[in-house]
Assembly symmetry: C2
Homo-oligomer: 661 residues x 2
């Protein structure tokens, strides 16, 4: 054990293990998680070569091998609880996407939700037993977020009682679905349904794409891998071009909408039913943001505690880089953010569970708010995490660029979350739409509840951003509930400003849609402020649940840092609205510095509490024992370029060059 990191741990003021329980949701959850981790990490069938040393094809090969093993072992151990499966999977493929993700996460659930009993009989058990391996093909090369824009067609032919599927243009080729390129033999394809001369919009079809026995693509199917990406090297994201592919009528998923043998179309009873899955996945992504940022913080903070560099005082030994204020200022707000997002993730999961209970009882009343909140928080947390991982990486100096640090991989595996499951700017605008609707309702005298209830106040106590000096500043920058209040007011003001911008645009001859577009900068900003408020509030609420004094104290410091750092970074908003005075903003800067010093002795313990197994972290810089340099050297020597002492290019190009010069 590195002596620096040992000393850090001795200096901690709280019990690391107890904080881990809080993060996991209880000691029994921690225990079970560790059991599952140990099942995977002690299993030689899951040992692997560092993917960074492999070619793309070998990475894919290794991932398929491990996924196949995973399926076997999950059944062998009888692990069936979705959370436990998720945990097991995240250890087998340490926080990497894998070839069966869409089969398990989209194909099977879509069958469960949208297949008729007859279709369940035909498809579910074969899919459960991996005879059918499926994916979910929605996105097209030219069309993403906007479902109505999809071009793939499924035209019903009553003569043969078949659908004819086509990709009529290049831009209509299905593009991106995971597992589509090489792994799957079936795909749920979303296509525009045409029957009896009418188009009825997007519907889902089960399309066999490869021969069940030979795995060779079927006639009319052009399928393959879309090529290397930023990350996701284990996954065969694929393309699919359909050329007059004929499909029996009962391959359309017909639990809700139906096409009768004669071609008559029957509408689905409700459109809200597919809503829930989206909400669920987005709330999961909030948790994944927390996980990615936690991992990046662990690596950067542990490494900063063992790395010595330069000098603070002349003549003294090089200090730990964690002693530099600039380093603390990079890392501790991100550490606080990782905690904030973890608690927000917990809240979202619980809320989802509560509300899905309501939904199954037919009560959809909470869904719009949850939907709006998920969209915004998904965008807010992924953007913050995306930038934060890179700050952590660059805070490790040169070694942060080495693949051995794991930071490049954490980044490239995480960054797609800013785009998939709803592009972030689109997400922010969805939240804004809900905020604006709520704002108008409050103005019309409706009493709002839930996270937007502050818009009731906004209506009463009309805010005038211009009159800075007029507003009484009663904010106590050391009091979290006071800060929650000020974040709330900021959100209210920015929602109102966005609403006014739309109004002004309408007055300037613009139609409603152009007014919306011309105000979208303000709308995104309002959503951002709303999410920021919700996060500060949830973090503060969480403190109320913490009984342990030492842990309560250190988490309060983190929460305060989170809130004040956010104010410092957005001080223009708070000053502009007259919510804080200039001396208060200066005071915030001073307090932030004090909080950094205050957190310094607990920094390593706070990342230890995340309790990420070394094998899952897979970072030479972030090792629990702090023995960085030996393992960096050992890792480098395994680089494929060191397989031979002399690379063949010397004999091929460099030596012959001499005689030519």
């Amino acid at each position: 054990m590195n002596p620096d990191i040992t000393r850090e741990r001795k200096n901690a003021t709280f019990d690391v293990e107890k904080l881990t329980y809080i993060l996991d949701g209880g000691p029994e959850k921690t225990k079970r998680r560790r059991e599952i981790e140990s099942l995977v990490f002690s299993d030689p069938d899951f040992s692997e070569e560092d993917p960074n040393f492999l070619s793309r094809s070998d990475r894919y090969d290794q991932a398929v091998r491990k996924s196949a093993q995973m399926i076997l072992k999950l059944r062998e151990y009888g692990i069936a609880d979705p959370e436990e499966i998720y945990c097991y999977k995240k250890c087998v493929h340490p926080d990497r996407a894998e070839p069966l993700d869409l089969h398990l996460g989209m194909f099977l659930p879509t069958l469960l939700n949208q297949a008729t009993p007859e279709q369940m009989d035909r498809f579910f058990m074969p899919a459960w037993n991996l005879e059918i391996i499926g994916t979910y093909a929605q996105t097209e090369m030219g069309h993403g977020t906007h479902l109505r824009g999809l071009e793939t067609t499924a035209t019903y032919d009553p003569a043969t009682q078949e659908f004819v599927l086509n990709s009529p243009t290049i831009s209509s080729i299905k593009w991106w679905p995971g597992g589509l390129g090489k792994t799957s033999n079936h795909a749920i394809v979303l296509a525009q349904l045409h029957t009896l001369g009418n188009c009825h919009g997007i519907h889902a079809f089960i399309v066999p794409i490869r021969d069940m026995s030979t795995h060779i693509p079927l006639p009319g199917i052009v399928v393959g891998d879309i090529g290397p990406k930023f990350g996701f090297s284990e996954v065969d994201n694929g393309f699919l071009k359909l050329e007059n592919v004929r499909l029996p009528r009962d391959n359309m998923l017909m639990k809700y909408a139906k096409v009768e043998p004669d071609g008559t179309y029957l509408k689905p009873p409700s459109a809200k039913l597919t809503y829930g899955t989206m909400v669920f996945i987005r709330s999961l992504i909030v948790g994944e943001s927390a996980r990615a940022l936690s991992k990046a913080s662990i690596i950067a903070i542990r490494y900063s505690s063992v790395r010595h560099q330069s000098e603070i005082r002349a003549g003294e030994p090089e200090p730990q880089i964690l002693d530099y204020q600039t380093q603390q200022y990079k890392l501790f707000p991100l550490l606080a953010t990782a905690y904030a997002f973890t608690f927000v993730g917990q809240y979202m999961r619980e809320t989802y569970q509560r509300i899905s209970g309501d939904i199954s009882n037919g009560d959809f009343s909470q869904l719009p708010e949850l939907h709006a909140l998920c969209a915004g928080l998904k965008a807010f947390t992924t953007w913050t995490t995306n930038a934060g991982i890179e700050v952590c990486r660059m805070s490790c100096g040169g070694h942060g660029y080495s693949r051995s640090s794991a930071l490049p991989d954490i980044y490239v595996e995480f960054t797609p979350a800013c785009t998939y499951e709803g592009e972030n700017t689109v997400m922010m605008l969805q939240t804004a739409r809900y905020l604006l609707k709520s704002y108008r309702q409050a103005k019309d005298g409706q009493q709002l509840s839930g996270t937007v209830s502050y818009l009731n106040d906004a209506n009463l106590q009309r805010v005038q951003p211009q009159t800075v000096a007029a507003r009484p500043t009663v904010v106590d920058v050391n009091d979290l509930s006071s800060l929650v209040e000020v974040y709330k007011q900021r959100a209210a003001i920015l929602v109102e400003m966005a609403a006014k911008s739309i109004q002004q645009e309408l007055q300037h001859r613009k139609c409603q849609e152009d007014a919306w577009n011309n105000s979208s900068i303000d709308l995104v900003r309002a959503s951002d402020a709303h999410c920021h408020y919700v996060i500060v509030k949830l973090f503060t609420n969480k403190l109320g649940e913490i009984g342990d004094t030492a842990i309560h104290s250190v988490l309060s410091t983190l929460a305060l840092l989170y809130a004040l750092h956010g104010i410092k970074n957005n001080s223009g908003d708070f000053l502009q609205a007259g919510l804080l005075s200039v001396p208060q903003v200066l005071q915030v800067s001073v307090r932030v510095k004090e909080l950094l010093s205050q957190l310094r002795p607990n920094a390593v313990a706070l990342v230890d509490s995340f309790d990420v197994n070394d094998k899952r972290l897979n970072s030479v810089l972030g090792r629990y024992d702090g023995n960085v340099y030996e393992h960096l050297f050992e890792w480098a020597r395994r680089s494929p370029l060191n397989a031979t002492e002399v690379h063949e290019s010397f004999h091929k190009y460099l030596k012959p060059l001499r005689s030519q010069l």
Copy 2:
């Protein structure tokens, strides 16, 4: 040619070609650049497989092949001007680092600067003719920026008149030098010189590391590749462990410092002589920031002009995504930044040339300011560019993640610039040191000149950040010279605030060094504001040189957007200092939106003016002709995973799995 992009070009209000001349520095420079590009891009010897489809070893192999060809052809064509060599090289290896970078950029120049005439005879011509291939080994595994911390030792043995070189610890292993792992047979090694019982600090030694004929590592040399990184896959960044390596006395570079045969040490005459190279390289990096951000903007803006998505008005066809205000707000400020950095890069190059003239005449007076400015601008421009590339990438939706977009590669090849040649935070603090020194000089009544002369005013017209309302706000947010003034005042105030923070720390019992560290957040912020001011000022100055009315008009719009966007993003600073009033800040937001609309018709033409050859850009999304989808499909089909219809993993793992379930 895609009809959307054709229409965009028709709508431009200025002559693209003329703006290219301005960016290149004159029509003759444009002409010569295009000649060189055509030499490379029409040369079949430089054709290559997309590196994204190759293994690491094959990427390295391809790069060595091309580098060897490059050396031959540069001599064949008689290209000898350093700027032309640079241009040629950047086409051969399109903006990628390559294995001979350090040989050409560090080994040869270091010989020229620090070798004795006898050493020049022994080493220079063999190195010029690639018999000797060298690198520059400074950084160690445990030591980067802080030269005094290096651990490698060179101990003089008078008995044999040799130096004995050692890597006494794991952390002292040389780490990172480009070309060290596999390519080089020599290294200039920086080591602590010990002679006659005394240590004289860091000196440079020419160390043979591989046999000239067999290329096998020499005895006592442990050398290899440091393994895969985030980017730089073509380069064999290496490690070097020295185990009692004996070196003749005259392998120490002795143009300045010397060790006599008996071991007597002779000091170098001046320490400032190595200063210049650093300044030169950092000023080059400013230009590289501009280039990288230009490329990212080209790709994102061209793609946004041909990509259609979602809807603004219900029922109408999907609009070009460049019509979304949020998309404009992401991209146009970055476009403006790319222009700003290009002009700053031009200024730095000219200034360097002017000042190096002075230096060779023995006049070092301008060097400290240039040194400080380079450090800060290197950090400011690389950080901004680093974040900006990712904004561009994510603005392209899913396809931005595809390696075919080139955006992932632009990012990973660029991001090391935030760390190499001086870690950015360290750079910012170097600039701050100069600013604080200047501030104190001004306070002591000295009259400052150059970029820091504003600190003279600050001294007279003492600034009180607290008294917001008291400051007369005479800023015209539509007038660039007025905005330059307000950026200047912001910088002055932030320098003063940092100075005050240090003072306060000193009053609280802190020593000078701790006071500095405890103020370093403020110091970085002051440097940042200083750099921002310089950039706004240089962009504004540049407008004065533009004769063409149409170009002057569009560049003025860009400059105004750059300045106002910076104010919007840092509005807290301006409000806090009372430099702008709340209504003015609101006005800035409104103006920013107007400027986005104003730039919209010229966006594509403005990126066309960067005139980056399609082969150099190498992006399916950024193609000049806008025919994105056909080429995306064509590229994907070449993915190595599509070499076979059925991947072997199906037969190895997936098919056998069925019988086990």
